[in-house]
Symmetry: C2
Subunit: 193 residues, 2 copies
DNA sequence: GTTACTTGTTAGTGAGTAGTAACATGCCAG
DNA sequence: CTGGCATGTTACTACTCACTAACAAGTAAC
C-alpha cells in the first residue's frame, strides 16, 4: 500500500492541518475556503478539523497569526545584532526574499481583508502591533521610518496577490523597484518630533 | 403607502445595486457577501441581480473597478494643474481625507484579496496600472517616488480595515503619522536610473 | 489481553448558496 | 386602448456549507 495511514499525535495532525490551511486560506481567504477542502488535502475527515480547532474562524486566525510571526521572526533574525539603518536594510532584504513563498504575504492580506469580523480584526491588530514593535525596537528608528518600511511591505503583499512577477509593463517594473534603505530616514513626518 | 415601489430604468437600478453592493463587498469581500444580502438591501429579488449583472463575480469586479476609478479620479482632480511634488502633496491629502469613507479603500483591499480568481486579478491589475499611470503622469516624478506614494496608500487601506482610528496605542499613532510629501523624493532606488 | 485513552470516522442537520426558467406586471407608442 | 417591450417576481434546482453527536479503531500500560 502506498498510503501508510497511521495515526498521528494530535499535535502532529494540528501542524499538518495548519500547513495545508495556510496554503488554502492564502488563496481563498476566510470565506473562500471550505473546511472540506482543507480536510481533503490533509487526508482526514472534515469533522476532525472541528475537533482539533473548534471552528473555521479559529483555524483561520491561528494560520494568520503564524504567518505574521513567521515574517516578524524572520526579520528579527535577519537584523541580528545590527541596529538602525543597517538592521532595516537587512530586514528589507529578508522581506523581499519572501516573494518566492507568497503564502505568508497573502495570509497577511487575507487577515486584513477579513477584519470586518471582530475576532479577526483584534487578532490582526495584535499581530501587526507586534510586527511594528519588532521593527521599531530592533532598529530604534523614528515612527515615520518604521511606517515607511511597513508601507512597502503592504505594497509587496498586494503585488504578490497580483502576481506582478509575471507582468512585464513599465508600471509593474516600477512597483518592483528596490528601495535603497539608507535613504529611508529622509522621509519625515509633518509634526516634527 | 410608505413604499412607493415604482419601476426604475435598468440604469437607475444598476446604479442603486452598485451602491449597495459596494458597501457589502467592502466588508465581506467577494466570497463573504451573498447576492441575497445585496438584493434585500436594494429591495429587489436576488434573481434580478443576475439579470442585470450576469454573475456575482461580474458585479464584484464592476464595484472594485469603480472604487479604483473613484480614488484615481479624486487624486487627478485634487492635483489640478499642479505637477511634481505639489501635485503629489495635493493627492496625498485627498487620499487621506477618504479615511472618512472607508468603502473605496476597503474595496481596493478586497480586490487584491480576491485576486486568486483570474478575472478579478486581471481587472485589479488594470485598475492599479491606471492609478499608477495617473500618479506618474500628473506628477512627472520618478517611479520610486510613485511607488512610495502608492505604498502609503496600501498601508492606509489596511489601517482602514483594522479601524485604527479607534486604537490609541503608540504603534497605531505611528501608523497614522502624516508624511511630509516634500521629502518623498529623497527615497531613491538602488539601481540609479 | 483487557482497560483506559486518544485518534479518527460515519452520518446527519438545517441553513444558505449562485444561478435559471418561466411567468407577471407596469409603462409607453401608436 | 391595446400590443409590445422593459422591468421585475415566483418558484425552483442542485449543491455546498459549517458544525454536531454518536460511534469505531488504534495504541499504550499493566
Amino acid at each position: 500500500m502506498a498510503t501508510v495511514s497511521k495515526k498521528m499525535t494530535a499535535d502532529e495532525r494540528r501542524a499538518q492541518i495548519l500547513a495545508v490551511a495556510a496554503e488554502e486560506f492564502a488563496l481563498g481567504g476566510l470565506h473562500g475556503t471550505s473546511t472540506e477542502t482543507i480536510a481533503r488535502r490533509a487526508e482526514i475527515t472534515q469533522a476532525y478539523v472541528f475537533r482539533l480547532f473548534g471552528s473555521k474562524k479559529a483555524l483561520f486566525i491561528q494560520v494568520v497569526q503564524r504567518a505574521f510571526e513567521q515574517l516578524t521572526g524572520a526579520m528579527r533574525e535577519a537584523a541580528g545584532d545590527r541596529t538602525g539603518l543597517e538592521a532595516l536594510s537587512a530586514m528589507g532584504l529578508t522581506y523581499d526574499s519572501l516573494l518566492g513563498d507568497r503564502t505568508a504575504l497573502l495570509l497577511q492580506l487575507q487577515g486584513f481583508a477579513a477584519a470586518s469580523e471582530p475576532e479577526v480584526r483584534d487578532a490582526v491588530r495584535d499581530s501587526f502591533a507586534r510586527m511594528w514593535g519588532t521593527v521599531a525596537d530592533t532598529t530604534g528608528l523614528e515612527p515615520v521610518t518604521v511606517k515607511s518600511f511597513l508601507a512597502f511591505g503592504m505594497l509587496l503583499n498586494n503585488s504578490a496577490a497580483l502576481e506582478l512577477r509575471d507582468v512585464d509593463e513599465p508600471w509593474a517594473l516600477g512597483v518592483r523597484t528596490r528601495i535603497q534603505p539608507g535613504l529611508f530616514t529622509h522621509i519625515t513626518s509633518e509634526t516634527n518630533q
